[in-house]
């Protein structure tokens, strides 16, 4: 591991996190012992198909979903399970979430004014009504909306605008860490870039940490520093964005990359799709382990596999650490 990386402050650490859901007749494990951390100021991508558990991880961090195993640390302090009220308040303020569906994530019966300042009420983040209004104005301007919109209802806005309201609602809390849960997947293609740019710009100017959840690798490449790929509740691969794109290890990641549409129609037509077949793994003798296969590049696989995967790029796997 390089020295520069060791020095960086971790804002979020997720250790052996599991999340179970109770269903009729037993438990359903949505997230299975995942490990990762997010550095301060970076944009971290979490990529996986629907139902892979990526949203659940995001929701576990904001504590909508309860962790059934492992722990979640925010700036070194544990925030899952029962936590003291002061910490709870801090977490409520410092960690914000942006939701997937802008049509569903705004309260239709409340004015924008209330929606945006809802969090402020909870942390008593203002001393006077004037201050609150000023904060709302500022937040709306920051996301490129007119302050006059505060007196309107959500159904008067387009999807892109709504999503910006959602961002304003998060920003007004002056968070240190934002989880964006597929913030653009429900939007028209034409305005996705708008929102994406907005997010990137905010992240840069405010020095925020951002966790970007997506099912589409092409989107993530544009905005993230590092990426984790999740499949059926398990993170199968994690590394710097460019590293993942240039040297994908796990067959699942490779199949995902293969699915990214190419801008050139001719090449796209000739592309062969490689569907991921879980039976390609042979875990009969040795089960998979979370391994740093290349520097800063982790993958889930057994010794033989790791060797084979890394060998493909002519690199030797990292020596096993004990």
């Amino acid at each position: 591991m390089s020295g520069a990386m060791l020095d960086r402050e971790k804002i979020i650490e997720v250790k052996d996190l599991s999340v179970d859901f109770r269903v009729k007749g037993g438990n359903f494990r949505a997230v299975d012992k995942v490990n990762f951390h997010i550095y301060k100021g970076e944009t971290f991508g979490l990529v996986g198909e629907s139902g892979s558990g990526k949203t659940t991880i995001g929701r576990a961090i904001v504590r909508i979903n309860e962790a059934s195993g492992g722990e979640i640390l925010f700036k070194g302090r544990r925030i899952d399970g029962r936590i003291p009220p002061e910490l709870d308040r801090e977490v409520v303020q410092k960690i914000q979430m942006i939701f997937q569906d802008p049509m569903a994530s705004l309260n239709e019966r409340a004015k924008i004014d209330y929606i945006v300042s809802e969090g402020l009420y909870n942390i008593r983040g203002f001393s006077s009504e004037e201050e609150r209004l000023a904060l709302v104005r500022k937040a709306l301007l920051e996301v490129g909306l007119l302050p006059e919109f505060a007196s309107r209802f959500p159904h008067e806005f387009s999807g892109g605008q709504r999503q910006r309201i959602g961002i304003a609602r998060a920003l007004i809390m002056s968070p240190e860490f934002i989880i964006a849960d597929e913030p653009i997947s429900a939007l028209d293609v034409s305005i996705r870039a708008q929102v994406l740019n907005l997010l990137a710009q905010i992240q840069r100017t405010k020095g925020l940490s951002l966790m970007f959840i997506a099912h589409d690798l092409s989107v993530v490449r544009f905005i993230t520093d590092r990426i984790a790929v999740i499949h059926l509740g398990k993170i199968v691969e994690l590394g710097d964005t460019e590293e993942i794109f240039s040297r994908p290890l796990h067959p699942y990641t490779r199949s995902l990359l293969q699915a990214v549409p190419l801008p050139d129609p001719r090449r796209e037509k000739g592309k062969k799709s490689i569907p991921y077949d879980p039976s390609c793994h042979d875990y009969g003798t040795e089960g998979p382990a979370w391994t740093e296969a290349l520097p800063g590049h982790f993958a889930l696989g057994n010794g033989a596999e790791i060797e084979a995967w890394t060998g493909r790029y002519g690199a030797a796997p990292m020596p096993k650490q004990k």
Binding site: V19, F21, R22, V23, K24, G25, F28, R63, I64, N65, E66
Partner: protein, 314 residues
């Protein structure tokens, strides 16, 4: 699924236990003199004590409650103490259930048949005369006190069609009016429900698509609308049919039907505790079983409810 059913059963039993115990204690709050009716003033204190002793009312309440459950575990519901002195409760109740049952099931079926037909026609002729007449009927039935219009039905029904005023199980035509009276509310309820459901459903995109595809309207009705309409009904029907064994207080009183209706009110007013306990046990079981069956049927019919994904608790 089996575990789920078992768990729900145990839960139901717990509810039943609480209900029966609470009712037991509530009945003990009623004044002791209620057990003597008009005879109270003619009795000496010794006699009153003797009578109370006989009815088992002098023990502390927890002993009484304990005795009740011990006997219940042996399948013994006790004997009536006032309503029909010394007659086993089951012997009083059992012969009445069929009457309420037959009337109730018949009225439910009649209500379903007529109500759904009416509702479907109303929905398809929305805004036309039939719809308006049907709506007027529904409004009248729902808004007028039933104690009044039922009496009018009895009065004019019997005099215009020379039907018997009182029910007599050996006179088939005496079944007609009570059965009709019983189904009036149901007809209105089902008609209103199916009409609202269909109007909602007919506006939905998949129906529009089916129409656009050129599917005949009848087929759309049968295949899509009606079939979907029965799903929520499946949850409701078992309870509706089972609840008919409780009978209808007012209609059974009007026509002298020896069913269960009003029996509970009677025995509560007379403070016949064993009867009250037994009836509460029966009615609560019926209610709980109805809910339970409804849930199970719902799970069977509705493909969406197989595995309900729950969110974690906060």
């Amino acid at each position: 699924m089996a575990r789920y059913v078992l768990k729900r059963c145990l839960q139901s039993l717990a509810t039943l236990f609480i209900v029966v115990s609470v009712v037991f204690l509530l009945m003990r709050l009623l004044p002791l003199e209620g057990y003597f009716g008009d005879g109270y003033d003619k009795l000496s204190p010794e006699q009153r004590t003797a009578a109370l002793q006989r009815m088992g009312l002098l023990d502390p309440w927890y002993v009484q409650l304990g005795n009740f459950y011990v006997r219940l575990s042996r399948g013994d519901l006790g004997t009536s103490i006032i309503y029909r002195r010394d007659v086993p409760v089951t012997e009083i109740i059992a012969p009445r259930i069929p009457y309420s049952m037959y009337f109730g099931v018949f009225a439910t079926l009649l209500a379903l048949a007529l109500g759904l037909t009416l509702g479907v026609f109303m929905a398809r002729r929305k805004g036309q005369a039939l719809d308006k007449a049907g709506t007027a009927y529904i409004v009248l039935i729902n808004a007028m006190p039933s104690a009044v219009y039922l009496l009018f039905i009895q009065l004019y029904g019997t005099s215009l069609f020379s039907l018997p005023i009182l029910f007599d199980k050996y006179r088939p035509n005496s079944w007609i009016l009570p059965a009709i009276s019983l189904s009036l509310g149901g007809i209105a309820g089902y008609a209103m429900w199916i009409r609202r459901y269909m109007v909602d459903e007919l506006n939905k995109d998949y129906i529009k698509l089916a129409k656009a595809k050129g599917l005949p309207e009848k087929l759309i009705m049968v295949r899509h609308v009606m079939r979907n309409a029965f799903v929520p009904m499946a949850q409701y029907l078992p309870a509706a049919i089972l609840s008919t064994i409780a009978g209808s207080i007012y209609i059974e009183s009007l026509y002298s039907i020896p069913g269960m209706g009003g029996l509970l009110v009677d025995v509560i007013q007379r403070q016949d505790n064993p009867m009250v306990q037994a009836l509460v046990l029966i009615f609560s079981s019926v209610g709980i079983v109805g809910l339970f069956l409804g849930d199970v049927l719902m799970a069977v019919f509705d493909p969406r409810i197989k595995l309900v994904k729950g969110e974690g608790a906060r």
